[in-house]
């Protein structure tokens, strides 16, 4: 109720007096209550809020008569779901990190090797004696000893966000290999804080202390101390192009002076080309650099690897539905193009899933169970049952009676089916690699339940509406392969398999063999096919035992024909796999527990669109407020409407400049006169006839209207939809947004 009274209070405006706190720049609103310490759900006030948590939550009747046990269940459930989210997300997150680290391993090793070599080179200039080294000024001997070894790490990615983690990992990797490492970013190289900023950053990271007067000699004496020397000192700057050029130059000049005392090796992330340093730094600085080049994996590569681990192999059991996958793909392609944003989108999807799906906590249980096999899941089967009956897919399939056993069976069945699905997707991906098909595209198609049902149901109907299969001769093939009937990536892949040269086919079968090793039924089929081909004298031959019986002569022509036959068989195999096993998760019972499908929720949480939304709020406010008075008006402006809304609607009729006088008059017309004339009036000046009220009340009304006008203008200014009058045009405000 507090909010109601607060809102009412703020509405009445009778008390313009603001509270003390409103004018404090900041204040402590409240401190954590002591209830925090006991984790057990006891307070009813706390649980009450959590009741109507999910849209698909239990029966309405239960809600209307608040039952304490039910509430406690609810709260317990929420607690479990929070835990489950943490489990699942930390699993996904660590998997992603592992994958990315794996992709970078080679480059990291290369860099480490180079660091060691550079360090040896610096050492070979001669190490300073104790007295020399403890002096607080640099040693300068000759030009070569002033060289700063610099590794340019090409990120092949304009978006530096994706590489923040990479450089962090690189730091950890080098540290674990015995280097001193400091990670700096462009923020440390700002013109404002100057060279002191980056030095302080260095000192903070190496010495773990803050110095107000940063001086490199502190670093030098630190390096001389105890066991610090004899290890290279690596400084990583993750986004070199965004640094302030002059500060970076000073930094490099300074390091080069001191390089004999402190063997510093620089690593700089470069997003564009190797020319970048040349654009940023003057030549007298460049000559101190001794550069080497390293190249990181491309974003597309990383994307595929992440999708494979998280969404196809499903490290955590969490998965997404077809629409969500398509949305994620489009978001990646159109919105942002960074892996970071993709991962964030996935995290939001995951959080939304756990906050909405009451049964999702089972996922956490299963994950734990997987970790410590044999240990019992800590959930009450009755609770599970209560919720399970709500699951639509479960009801639809009417799998046996609802008891704990069938549920467990359901889970294992779901897992088995899904394992098959992911195996087939990976097989397809292997085959599609030579066609440069992206896994994300393939995933979207493989998750499409419509395609699955059309594949399954009308196996024999040839669909004429083909995309990408224009040749008439293809029709017979299409009839043969269900997958070809619809175009798309799977169709492309099957066709590709048919045309694969023998050697590549052989390799493909090898990789299939590896991929399918966990799924016996598929594995055997692949094995069978593999036995038809053998590798001999550097050439591929169909297995003689099988085929020679049919063909007595072994002319090259025949050979080709035979290998084509193997191609056909491979294509038939993958086609059959697609038909039998590529069952999207949304077509499997109980999938609601594991699969997030609510694409609208995800989109709203992920992409705020203030520019459009705030305008729509103003123009269609009655849809949100749902008041009786304004919704029927159609396009006509009513005096009962929200003032700012009236003003903004009126503003739509103006050009980029709005004359305040005109605007005020049309506002006044709308406010004073009921609808009948409404909008048409707005552009004309008010009719003098209508001002025949008594002078006194008119004046009062006038003041109030002017005040309302002022407030509406202020509110539009706060939303940024208006720019205030300039000196040149004191009577006009400027519109900022045009169209939604």
């Amino acid at each position: 109720m507090a909010i109601a009274s607060a809102a009412a209070e703020s509405l009445t405006q009778g008390t313009p007096e603001t509270t003390e706190n409103d004018l404090q720049p900041f204040f402590v609103f409240h401190k954590a209550s002591s209830r925090k310490s006991d984790k057990k759900p006891t307070g009813t006030g706390k649980t009450r809020r959590r009741i109507d948590l999910s849209p698909s939550s239990p029966n309405k009747t239960e809600k209307s008569e608040p039952d304490k046990a039910g509430e406690r269940d609810e709260h317990c459930n929420e607690h479990l779901r929070t835990e489950a989210f943490e489990l699942v997300w930390s699993k996904i997150n660590s998997t992603i990190k592992e994958i990315l680290r794996g992709i970078n391993t080679n480059v990291f090793n290369e860099i480490h090797q180079w660091v060691l070599e550079s360090f040896n080179a610096i050492q070979s200039f001669g190490t300073p004696g104790f007295i020399e080294a403890t002096r607080s000024f640099p040693i300068v001997t000759d030009a070569t000893s002033k060289l700063l070894f610099t590794g340019m790490v090409l990120t092949r990615n304009m978006e530096f966000v994706d590489d923040l983690l990479t450089f962090e990992d690189l730091g950890l990797f080098l540290r674990s290999n015995g280097c001193h490492v400091a990670n700096l970013s462009s923020l440390d190289f700002s013109a404002k804080s100057g060279i002191g900023g980056c030095l302080r950053g260095l000192l903070r990271q190496f010495l773990k202390a803050t110095f107000y007067e940063a001086d490199i000699s502190i670093l030098a004496s630190w390096y001389r101390e105890q066991e610090n020397h004899n290890t290279p000192v690596v400084v990583i700057i993750d986004d070199m192009e965004r640094c302030c050029g002059s500060v970076l130059s000073d930094f490099i000049l300074m390091l080069s002076e001191w390089v004999v005392k402190i063997p510093i090796i620089l690593l700089m992330g470069v997003a564009t080309t190797l020319n970048a340093p040349r654009n940023l730094l003057p030549s007298n600085v460049l000559q101190h650099l001794c550069p080497s080049k390293f190249i990181l994996g491309s974003p597309a590569e990383r994307m595929d690897a992440v999708v494979e681990a998280v969404l196809v192999k499903q490290c955590s059991g969490f998965s997404v539905g077809h629409k969500v996958a398509v949305f994620l793909k489009n978001y990646f392609l159109n919105q942002d193009g960074t892996l970071t944003s993709f991962i964030r989108a996935l995290k939001i999807a995951c959080a939304q899933h756990f906050s909405m799906e009451p049964l999702s906590f089972i996922l956490g249980g299963l994950l734990v169970e997987e970790k410590q096999k044999g240990e019992k899941r800590g959930l009450q089967p009755e609770v599970e049952l209560k919720y399970t009956s709500q699951l639509s897919s479960y009801a639809r399939n009417q799998m046996a009676e609802q008891n704990g056993k069938s549920l467990v069976h359901g889970f294992s069945e779901l897992r088995r089916l899904h394992k098959c699905w992911s195996t087939v997707v990976l097989c397809l991906y292997e085959a599609g690699k030579c066609n440069k098909i992206r896994l994300l595209d393939l995933l979207c198609e493989a998750l499409n339940p419509d395609l699955y049902t059309s594949r399954a149901s009308n196996n024999h109907v040839v669909l004429e509406k083909d995309v990408g299969v224009p040749m008439a001769t293809d029709r017979s093939i299409r009839r043969k392969y269900s997958t070809l009937r619809k175009g798309g990536f799977i169709g492309q892949i099957v066709r590709k398999v048919r045309d694969l040269p023998a050697l590549m086919l052989y390799q493909l079968l090898k990789s299939w063999e590896k991929t399918t090793v966990d799924v016996l039924e598929i594995h055997e089929k692949v094995k069978d096919l593999q036995s038809l081909l053998r590798f001999e004298d550097g050439k591929l031959k169909p297995n003689v035992d099988d085929i020679s019986k049919k063909h007595s002569s072994r002319s090259p022509l025949n050979m080709e024909k035979e290998s084509k036959e193997v191609n056909e068989k491979a294509a038939a195999l993958i086609d059959c796999l697609v038909r039998d096993y590529l069952r999207p998760i949304e077509c499997i019972p109980l999938h609601e527990i594991f699969c997030f499908k609510n694409v609208e929720k995800l989109q709203l949480a992920l992409i705020g669109d203030p520019r459009r939304r705030i305008q729509v709020d103003l123009l269609e406010f009655h849809k949100i407020l749902q008041c009786g008075c304004c919704s029927k008006s159609g396009n006509v402006l009513l005096p009962s409407m929200h003032d700012t809304s009236i003003m903004y609607t009126l503003a739509q009729e103006h050009g980029d400049l709005i004359n305040l006088h005109d605007w005020f008059q049309s506002f006044k017309t709308v406010v004073l006169h009921p609808s009948s004339k409404g909008k048409h009036k707005s552009k004309q000046s008010p009719n003098p006839k209508k001002r025949k009220c008594t002078h006194d009340s008119e004046n009062k009304g006038e003041a109030s209207i002017q005040a309302r006008f002022c407030r509406a203008v202020t509110e539009l200014q706060i939303t940024g939809l208006l720019r205030m009058p300039s000196r040149r045009r004191p009577d006009c405000v400027q519109r900022v947004a045009f169209g939604l």
């Binding site: 706190n21 204040f27 402590v28 925090k36 978006e159 949480a605 520019r611 005040a707 509110e715």
Partner: protein, 366 residues
């Protein structure tokens, strides 16, 4: 493919539509008979009357707005869940979201400490905010394990550097993931927070492991304040569209009323707020000027040299440069203006009436 094309078409159409609208609007402004009416033709009422009327505007749709606010209550558990998951909440939509967020904080976040930042104010010292955040956190940790405070209070927070403080907020003093402080930032796009440096600090604060952020924005272009690093890895926003249609009562206080005479006139109240955020020396400089204006009501203003001499005598400034920096600050907030004296030199005056000035002086001397 089809989907792709569809989306592209849509995008293109959107972009095209946008530019078309812009040019249509331009054209409309140019071709149509340009209205040259003056604001003064309206017959403006007296400013005092206007302000009185402004504080008495009859609210519309009161009932519906309260119902709308109440309808957001069902989202509270979800918001708490997302805060726990490590997201920040960003509220947008038309209407003041101040009472909504504060209601959320007072009912659903009772287990966590909450610090509120009023971003709609003109000046906010982020360092001070971080210090008090650190104090709250230290407090919380201390009560948690009463005896093992050990290394916590080795140095008072207000003498530590920003990096140290951020490191403390990001620290792993506690394994408990549920131990965090919520910051509520009203108008994170507000005038006092809009500069890039402050936004950088805010994002760094938001990224700390012991901090969760709940913020509101009102400006349609607020998203331009942040780069991808801030959005994806630091703030980690979950957007919520929660229009309230509640009046921007406090938020609008600092905007001039467009129909008030000389629309930039400040009330004593807003001036006092600005002044209180300045250093004592700056306040004293302002006082010198104000007292001069009160004692010489007929003069056009105070020559800068006179002001400098007096301020030096009273050890308020040490050089012309420091005085100028104070004056720039005053001018930026329109506390002080310059005009040409009849004898030709520039002089300073405060654009307030004598009564307002007296009231203002009384207020800042408290």
């Amino acid at each position: 493919m089809e989907i792709n094309n569809g989306v592209e078409d849509e995008l293109e159409e959107e972009e095209f539509g946008f530019s078309r609208n812009y040019f249509l609007a331009k054209e409309l402004g140019g071709s149509g008979k340009k209205s040259t009416r003056k604001l003064s033709d309206i017959g403006l009422v007296d400013e005092q009357e206007l302000r009185a009327a402004a504080s008495n505007i009859e609210p519309k749709h009161e009932k519906e707005i309260v119902a709308l606010m109440n309808s957001y209550k069902s989202l509270y558990p979800k918001w708490v869940f997302e805060l726990r998951c490590g997201f920040g909440l960003l509220m947008y939509g038309f209407g003041s979201k101040k009472s909504l967020i504060e209601d959320f904080a007072s009912t659903a976040l009772t287990e966590y400490s909450v610090v509120v930042i009023n971003g709609y104010l003109q000046t906010i010292n982020v360092k001070q905010v971080v210090i008090s955040l650190a104090e709250v956190l230290a407090d919380q940790l201390r009560t948690k394990r009463a005896n093992t405070s050990g290394n916590l209070s080795k140095q008072p927070f207000n003498s530590r550097s920003m990096d140290d403080l951020l490191a403390f907020l990001n620290g792993s003093q506690t394994q408990d993931k549920d131990c965090f402080i919520c910051i509520v930032v009203h108008n994170i796009d507000g005038p006092g927070l809009r500069d890039p440096e402050t936004q950088q600090y805010l994002s760094q604060i938001a990224a700390c492991s012991c901090i969760r952020i709940i913020a509101s924005i009102d400006h349609v272009n607020s998203a331009l304040l942040w780069d991808k690093k801030m959005v994806h890895t630091q703030f980690n926003w979950c957007w919520y569209h929660v229009p309230t249609f509640a009046p921007y009562r406090v938020e609008g206080m600092f905007f001039p009323m467009i129909l008030a005479h000389g629309s930039t006139a400040q009330t004593a109240k807003t001036a006092a707020i600005v002044l209180q955020s300045l250093t004592p020396n700056a306040q004293s400089v302002f006082r010198v000027l104000a007292e001069h204006q009160l004692s010489h009501p007929d003069e056009e203003g105070m020559p800068i040299n006179d002001l400098y001499t007096i301020c030096r005598e009273r050890f308020l400034v040490s050089s012309q440069v420091t005085l100028n920096s104070h004056l720039t600050e005053f001018k930026d907030h329109e506390l002080v203006k310059t005009r040409r004296h009849s004898d030709g030199q520039d002089c300073l005056y405060i654009p307030l009436t004598a009564e307002a000035l007296v009231k203002l002086l009384a207020e800042i001397s408290q």
